[in-house]
Structures are given as structure tokens and as C-alpha cells.
């Protein structure tokens, strides 16, 4: 994570909720797109690839590339297809099994 502002929000969120990403608490806008909210919060690497361990972040933002896979409550999900809700527990996936996501 970096502190430099890589992404800017045009309008500040009206309400944020507490979530956890890899054990770290984050306050993200309620109802926001999870991948976008994580980017604004300075999370650039959403996962490491199962093949070489290379870092990846969201690429297509439309549910097609599967580079934004994260683990939410034990299920592999596409962060770009999720909305932020209170108390989400998000972890970097260990592997990205091909039959393990939706």
C-alpha cells in the first residue's frame, strides 16, 4: 500500500463503513464498487498469481478478466462485481482456482 494519491474521488463519500482487508481495517464508502474503493484506499495489489506469485490489480472492471479475485468470507469473488457492505472480511486469495469464483 502507498500513501501517494493514485486515485481521486470527485465527490467525497457520504457514509463509510469499516471492512477488513488482509487483517487491516479500512473505511470504505457504503455501497461503492469494492475494487474501486480499494484502489482509492491505496490497495493496488488485490492478489498474487498462483503460477508465479506476481502481483495483480483490477484490470477490466467489468467482470471479464478475473484479475480482481479476492476471498470474501471464504468464497473467491470478483472485487469489481461486489458492493461494499459493513464488516466485509476480505483476504488476498491463496490460489485462484478456475472453478472457485463467480
Amino acid at each position: 500500500m502507498s500513501t501517494a494519491l493514485t486515485f481521486l474521488e470527485l465527490t467525497p463519500p457520504s457514509r463509510t463503513v469499516r471492512v477488513e482487508f488482509d487483517g487491516q481495517p479500512l473505511d470504505l464508502p457504503l455501497g461503492a464498487n469494492l475494487a474501486a474503493a480499494l484502489m482509492v484506499a491505496g490497495v493496488h495489489t488485490l492478489r498474487k498469481t498462483p503460477v508465479s506469485g506476481a502481483p495483480r490489480g483490477a484490470f477490466c472492471m467489468m467482470g471479464a478478466c478475473f484479475d480482481c479475485l479476492v476471498d470474501i468470507d471464504g468464497v473467491t469473488r470478483q472485487a469489481c462485481m461486489q458492493q461494499v457492505t459493513e464488516g466485509l472480511v476480505i483476504r488476498r486469495t491463496k490460489t485462484a482456482g478456475q472453478n472457485d469464483a463467480s
Binding site: F7, A36, A37, F59, M62, A64, F66, V75
Partner: protein
């Protein structure tokens, strides 16, 4: 199980316009879409965003409100957040929604699944911080989020569009690194007389370029040997223009060299495809109404060839006319009279297309990447691996899949399919049609066993929609 006359897959312009016309003709319609709100990628979240950022995104975006609002019709059921994973016998559609699996049956299906960004394999394109320009647009539309230090790379009107929106939002990109050359403009010039019928597109393009110039955004053209550099994330883009090497420091790289039909669903249905040389991609076989060789399945919009949002909506309506006639809801002469008007409008929308296709072709360096460039993002397969497969005698993508694992990951070949076809065609000296494409099988999107076990198959009378 829900039963309707028409199932529309995809709530973008083609799907929404088709659904409304069918509903007006008296058909019951279920429109399924993966996103939480209707609009497709082009009008993403327009219902809630138009008032907040309509001035930045422009009228071409807020125009989508007409289509999303038209879904409010007694005959239309919009099923949001639904991921279609299987289509059976051209009439049964299985989808996942909120962690459960459901089935809807329809007499006809209209596939309107739109476009994907053309894959743009470059050195470093897998680094965090590199996204498609379409992703940049989605961030801006849906979330009001802008990259602070962005460089835009590639070719085409979408690059100018997002760049000028960033200017209006007060955060212009650092630079545009464009790949089209003078030779391309000269070749495009012969399409100009015809393109003048679509003069609105040309005027819009020029005004976007003017916006960029006035904002002092740096533009490089005819760039080649483009690479994204960085340790663990994108930090710079290097490239060559007129023999001179440049390097721009940045934090975000947005890639775009055109969009291509998302043919995943049509492929899963074994609808034949052929290569469209002008658009440099595969397109599904369908007749003038959008009807596929599988007679219960119709196709409309950018998923059948790239023609833009306005033409997509017209295509959706043209398909809906034939579907209504097919199901006895509309007389054939009435269909033909309405279709004639829609087809005329569509030909105006398409007039500028050949000019744009010729002026902004795909980046040659990404069609023939160096051996060590990753082409399959999921399985990290490199261009050289595919070329080695060709040497071993592989003629088509389904063979290289077994040898190299390219296309075996969760994206199911969406972002490597065209590249693998391209590399094999080049290496084997074969045409794209001879080389072919990945076979697609259900699940069209990955499904968990847990979700399937929650399948709701019981016929629920209260869900009947007729």
C-alpha cells in the same frame, strides 16, 4: 421456474431497446444482467450518476437514461446481478443471483452481451496500475474515481473520450501515447466521403481532440516498442517515436486499441463465427434480423460486430420486431415498415465506422508481441510458448490450450483468445478462419458447487410471468 416469451441477456443499449420494443408489442420479457443496475458498460449506472456527473460524462452518456427508464414496463422483468452460466436447447437459461442458482425459460432468446476491450499484450501489461481504458471509464462513471497520474496508450476514439472527460473533471491525463500512423490516416482518407454521412461522429472526435489540445495534454503518435515498467506496479511507460526512445513516469496506464465482440455466449451455443477483416475480430453468424442459425436465438449490438451504442439499440429493436412477428404478436408488414425506418437510421450510425476502423487499427506490436510477453494473463503463458506450440504442429487454439494452458484460467480465454488465434495464424501462415477460436463450454462463467446445490428448480407459480 419463470417462463417468459423473450429472454434478453445483457441490459446494455441493444438489450434494453429490444426488451422495450418486444414488451410494447405485447411479449413478456425477462432481461438478465450481471450488473446491479441497467445500462451496460456504456451507460453504466446512468440512473444514479447522470445527475451527479452528467456534465463531465457528456450527453452521449446521459442519453442512456431514455433506455434505462424504458425498462419500467409491466411486461418487463429486469433481473439484476444475474450471471448467466448456461443456456440449454436455446430456450432455458441458467443464472446465478445472490449466491443461488435459478432457471428461466423463454420462447426466444436475444443475446446482447456487448463488447470487450481488444487484448493488448505489451511488456508489463499485467502490473497493478495497468487497466483497460474501458475500466478507466467505468471507474469514472460508476464510482466518480479518476487516476491522478495517468498515461493513455493505444488508438481510437475511446481514448479521446476518456481523456476529454478527465480534462472536464479537472484532472487531465499526463499524455496520450497513440499508435496510429500517417499511413493509417492516408488509408482511412478514402473512406472519408462516405463517412461524412456520419459527420456527427467526426465532429465529436475533432472537438475532443481540440479539448485535449487546449488543456495542453501531450500527444505522441505512431508510437512503437511500448512497454510498461515498474517493480510490483506500473511506474512508467517507455516507447519509441521516430527512432527516439521516450519514458514517461506515471502511476496508472490505461490501454485501448479498440473493442471486440464478446462472443462467449454465442460460442457456447455453437453458433458459427467468421473473421471480419475490417474489424479484425470474429463475428457470429446471423441474418438481417439478428437471428442465428439456431432459430430461437437472436443476437444484437456490439456482440455481433462493433457499431456503437446508438446502432446497438437499433439492432436490438430490429431483432425484437422479428421476434414479435415470430411469436404472432405483430403482422409481417408492420414489422417490415418499422424495420425499414430503423435500418435507415442504422446506416447513418454506421457511416463513419469504416473510416474509424482504418484510421485507428489495432496496434501492430500487440498483435505480434515479443516471445517473452505474457499473452494469457491467467496462466501467465507467453507469446513464445504459443509460437513453440505452432512449431510442434498445433494449428488451432484448442490444441495450444492443452499444451500451454493458455485459456484454461478463470477468464476462460476472454483476454487471450484473439491473441492466440493471431499468433497461430501468423506462425502457421494460415487464415484466421482456418485457425479458429477457443471452443466455449458451460459454465460460461465459473460457478461454485455451493451455488449449484442451491439451485431453485421447482416451478413457482407466483413467478410465472404471463
Amino acid at each position: 421456474m419463470m417462463q417468459v416469451d423473450l429472454i434478453v441477456i445483457g441490459a446494455g443499449p441493444a438489450g434494453m431497446a429490444g426488451a422495450r420494443l418486444a414488451a410494447d408489442a405485447g411479449l413478456t420479457v425477462a432481461i438478465l444482467d450481471e450488473q446491479h443496475r441497467a445500462g451496460g458498460q456504456i451507460y453504466r449506472d446512468v440512473d444514479i450518476v447522470a445527475s451527479a456527473r452528467g456534465d463531465i460524462l457528456g450527453k452521449d452518456y446521459t442519453d442512456g437514461l431514455h433506455l434505462t427508464r424504458a425498462l419500467a414496463h409491466d411486461n418487463i422483468r429486469h433481473i439484476a446481478g444475474a450471471t448467466v452460466w448456461i443456456i440449454e436447447e436455446g430456450t432455458r437459461v441458467g443464472y446465478l443471483q445472490a449466491g443461488g442458482a435459478h432457471v428461466v425459460t423463454g420462447k426466444r432468446i436475444l443475446i446482447a452481451t456487448g463488447a470487450l476491450e481488444r487484448p493488448m499484450p505489451l511488456p508489463g501489461w499485467t502490473l497493478p496500475g495497468v487497466m483497460t481504458a474501458g475500466a478507466g471509464q467505468i471507474l469514472l462513471k460508476q464510482s466518480g474515481v479518476l487516476p491522478a497520474q495517468a498515461v493513455l496508450v493505444g488508438a481510437g476514439p475511446l481514448l479521446y473520450l476518456i481523456a476529454s472527460q478527465m480534462v472536464r473533471a479537472g484532472h487531465p491525463p499526463l499524455a496520450l501515447i497513440e499508435t496510429q500512423t500517417r499511413a493509417h490516416s492516408l488509408r482511412a482518407a478514402r473512406h472519408l466521403p462516405n463517412a461524412l454521412r456520419g459527420w456527427r461522429y467526426l465532429v465529436k472526435g475533432l472537438s475532443m481532440i481540440r479539448t485535449l489540445r487546449q488543456a495542453g495534454v501531450q500527444r505522441f503518435t505512431a508510437a512503437s516498442e511500448i512497454a510498461v515498467e515498474g517493480e510490483g506496479r506500473a511506474e512508467a511507460v517507455s516507447f519509441t517515436v521516430s527512432g527516439k526512445r521516450h519514458r514517461l513516469i506515471c502511476q496508472t496506464v490505461l490501454l485501448h486499441h479498440g473493442v471486440v465482440p464478446n462472443t462467449q455466449m454465442a460460442r457456447a451455443l455453437d453458433i458459427p463465427h467468421h473473421w471480419d477483416a475490417a474489424q479484425h475480430c470474429f463475428v457470429p453468424k446471423r441474418d438481417d434480423w439478428g437471428r442465428s442459425p439456431q432459430t430461437s436465438v437472436f443476437l444484437a449490438g456490439d456482440g455481433t460486430g462493433i457499431s456503437g451504442a446508438k446502432a446497438a439499440a437499433l439492432e436490438g429493436q430490429i431483432a425484437a420486431l422479428d421476434i414479435a412477428t415470430d411469436l404472432g404478436a405483430m403482422a409481417a408488414d408492420q414489422r417490415d415498415a418499422q424495420a425499414a425506418i430503423l435500418r435507415r437510421a442504422k446506416s447513418v450510425e454506421l457511416a463513419a465506422r469504416p473510416f474509424l476502423d482504418a484510421a485507428y487499427p489495432p496496434f501492430a506490436g500487440a498483435l505480434a508481441p515479443a516471445d517473452d510477453t505474457i499473452i494469457c494473463r491467467c496462466e501467465e503463458v507467453r507469446a513464445g510458448d504459443i509460437r513453440a506450440c505452432a512449431t510442434l504442429g498445433c494449428t488451432g487454439p484448442n490444441q495450444t490450450k492443452a499444451f500451454s494452458r493458455a485459456g484454461m484460467g478463470p477468464c476462460q480465454g476472454r483476454y487471450c483468445g484473439l491473441t492466440v488465434t493471431e499468433l497461430l495464424a501468423q506462425a502457421n501462415g494460415k487464415t484466421y478462419d482456418e485457425t479458429g477460436a477457443y471452443r466455449v463450454r458451460a459454465p460460461i462463467k465459473p460457478v461454485t458447487l455451493g451455488e449449484l446445490s442451491k439451485m431453485t428448480t421447482q416451478t413457482n407459480e407466483s413467478e410465472r410471468h404471463d
